[in-house]
Each structure stands twice: as C-alpha cells, then as structure tokens.
Subunit: 228 residues, 2 copies
DNA sequence: TCGAAAGCAAGAGCACTGCTCTCGTTTTGT
DNA sequence: ACAAAACGAGAGCAGTGCTCTTGCTTTCGA
C-alpha cells in the first residue's frame, strides 16, 4: 500500500470512528484518544491527520451538513409533480425533522450551541447553504409560479429591505421582500420546532410531536400560499 | 460566623464565580477547579457544596431561567395599557432577544444543545415555565378579549387536539386549538430566530438583525391578530 | 542509484480536568 | 463533655488535548 493510499485509508478510518463516536456520545464527549484506540493508533498519530480536535469536529460538521443536505434534496426531488410546491415543502420539512431525530447528536452539532471560541470556516458554510438553498429554491419557484395567496403579509420598509441584503444576493430571481420575510419565518419556525422538540423544551406541552409538526408545517404551507 | 452562615456564604460565592465563569467561557469550559481557585478553596472542598459539576450547572440553569423570566415579566408589566396585547407581545419578544444577546452563554445553556446525558430535573422546568407562561397568558387574554382577526388558521383535527394535551393543562381558560397552534408557532419562531441569530446561522443572509427581528415579530402580531 | 528529505507511528511527558478518599480540625447537638 | 457531623486540605486516580523526541520507512531528486 502506497503512502498516499495509506493516508487516505487512515483518514477515512479516523473519520468513520469519529462519526460513530459522535453519534454515540455526542460532540462534547468526543475523544481523540478514544478514536485513536478504536482505529489501533496511539493518540499522537491521529494528529498527523487532523491537527486538532476542532479540525476533526469541523470535518464532522461538513459531513453532517452534507448528509442532511442529501436528505433534503432527495426529499424534494422525490416529489413527482414539480409544481406541487406544497408537497415539496412538506417533504423538505419532514426530511429535516426525520434526519434530526435519527441523528440527534449530529443535529445538535450543526444547530445547537456552537463550540466555545469556534468560528465556522468557509468549508462548513458552503455545505450548510445546501439546506437553506432548498428553501430559497422553493421560494423562487413559488414566486414565479404566479399569484400567491398566502396569509396577508405586512409591507417591508426600505430599512427592512436592506436588512435582507444577504438573502437577495443568494437569490437568482427576485422575490418580493414580504415573501422573503415569510419564507425566512417558515425556515426559522421549522428549525425552531425541531430544536425545541429535540432539546426537550416541548416535553411538557406537546404529547404527539409527529401530529403537531404536521399541523405546524401545514399551517406554514397555508401562510406561504403554496397551492397544491 | 456560624457554620450555617458560612455555608450560605460559600455557596453564594461559588455560584457567583460560576456565573462569572459561565458568562466568560461558556458552559462547556466551566471548570470546578478554576472556580475553587477563584473562591480560595481547594477543588475537593467545592464538592461539599455541589455534589458534581452537573449539579452546579443545574443551579446555574435555574438562575438563568429566573433571570430571563424576570426580564420577560418585567417587560410585559412595563406596558401601561394592559389591553395593548400587541405592545406586550412585542415587549416580551424584545426582552427575550435582548437578554439572549446580553447573555449568549447563558442562553446557549438554556436553549442550546443539552449537555450529554443530562436530563433536566424538576427544579429547572418550573423556572423554565415562567417564560412559556408569559406567552400563554397573552394567548389567554387575546382569546378572552373577543374577536381575533389574525391570519386564517386551519382547523385542528381531533388528533391535533390530543397532541396539545399538555398545553391545555397549562391553560387556565380555554383557548381554541387553532389559536394555540398559532401561539406555539409564534413561540417557536421567536426562539428559533434568536437561536439562529446567536448561533450564527443568519450570518450570511441577514445584515441587520434588529430590523429583521422587528419585521418578524411585527408579522407575528398580525398573524396572531393582536389589536393595538 | 543512492542519499537527503519528508512522512509516519510510538512513547514519554505536560498541564489540565472531574472526582474520590483520607486525615486532621472545628463546629454542632445531645 | 462528648460523640457526631461538617469542613478544608492534600494526595491520588483516570481521563483529556496536545507537544516533542526518537527511530523507521517511503518518496523523490541529483
């Protein structure tokens, strides 16, 4: 086995064990030494492949974002009639929640408290944008599809328009400001719900998470004016 | 100084230093040994007052919930005309976000990723309910105030009614299911927004957080049908 | 082809963590 | 007055991230 092959293989093995450990004990308890033991290495050898524990976590973040991105895009693509924006939206929402429930520690790593002193490098943000990208795409298609009959949305003043600057840049077609606000609220609501559910803040109030999530996303469909 | 006095004083000192350290370095990096050094004790002595690091964190969680609860209730009480439900709602939302921005580590401790293997004891949930209580109170007052002219809300089937069981128990007056759903969505949206903002997920999209938050909460007021 | 350079794994070690146990001392309650 | 409980200190255990040195091996250029 050549040196390059060996390196690729070891990197893969380390990441694999790291992912397994992440799923088991969560990001906080992830131990470089334990990973080293698992792959049959001494701890210092791992540092040949990842310069620090944070770099390893970054790699896991990217992988997780990509996995969630895959799930989301696959869910969207799974809807036959592309004009069924409501079905596509619901599929995307369900995919996010399903993935989060199946991979709670990974979700917490992505959308929970950021690790102290950690600033997400560029590599993670591009992977992260795949998820928001799914929402943006739906927003654009909804806009271009014609009349939008959602809940009445307040006008956005010039100041509010400016505040959305980054979103405008990410959009390929123009979307009205009030529609953007609605879509951002939907995005926030979905992730807020998943976080609240997963982090135990609905424990005392909601008895049936599945049903309530369906209710909420159904309401979002109505508010967004997604016609079936 | 009597033994009881000394105990109270030491407990207070430890908690004070712990809070300071929490604000500085965050929950993950909170060190019992460092706290011990700060208060002039050896680390093992701290365990006479808090049986474990997690118990100390629990105490901090309770304190933080209470502080946020104070801020929220104070903001609500600060609105003169009690019938101005929109102003009260906006005040509560702003109080939550302001407190979160002023105390990001404390907010992360409360609403971020739960610490691994940690299950919130009863003592924390009662303090936590003060915040949700503020929303519930507004929901009830809005309902009893008469006609609600918010965004149209879909009917809630029996299954959805059951899912809200815990919320019904917390309510003193009956609130229609569709209204409860709307209020839960508002609650989710507010905390979802604050989490997304604080945890850096809006970094690329939103340029002016203050303005956008006002826009969002303003929209929530309209959706909830809160008349001024 | 051969020797320098670079990559690699191992081990020792540093500074730190949460936590336990023991050992004197001091304060309590009976 | 005396036993019991509480207390602080210290040593120690098992674990952590990370660095540095020491040999060995693969790679690559003259």
């Amino acid at each position: 086995m050549s040196r390059a092959e060996n390196r690729a293989e070891q990197t893969r093995a380390i990441l694999e064990r790291a992912r397994a450990q992440l799923a088991e004990v969560g990001p906080a308890a992830l131990s470089v030494r334990q990973i080293a033991r698992d792959v049959g290495l001494v701890s210092s050898a791992v540092y040949r492949y990842f310069p620090s524990r944070d770099e390893l976590l970054t790699a896991l973040i990217v992988e997780s974002y990509d996995e969630l991105g895959d799930a989301v895009e696959q869910a969207d693509a799974g809807v036959r009639r592309r004009s069924d924006l409501d079905k596509r939206f619901l599929a995307v929402c369900a995919a996010i929640r399903d993935w989060a429930r199946a991979n709670p520690h990974e979700y917490a790593l992505l959308y929970g408290s950021p690790v102290p002193g950690y600033v997400a490098p560029q590599t993670t943000t591009t992977s992260a944008s795949r998820i928001t990208g799914a929402f943006l795409r739906l927003a654009q298609e909804s806009e271009t599809a014609g009349d939008v009959l959602g809940a009445p949305t307040g006008a956005v003043p010039p100041k509010g328009h400016q505040a959305l600057g980054g979103v405008h840049l990410a959009l390929e077609t123009t979307v009205a400001d009030d529609r953007i606000v609605r879509w951002l609220m939907a995005w926030t609501t979905v992730f807020g719900h998943v976080s609240m559910e997963l982090f135990g803040h609905m424990h005392r109030g909601i008895l049936d998470y599945d049903t309530h999530f369906q209710q909420v996303t159904g309401q979002l469909v109505a508010d967004l004016g997604l016609t079936g």
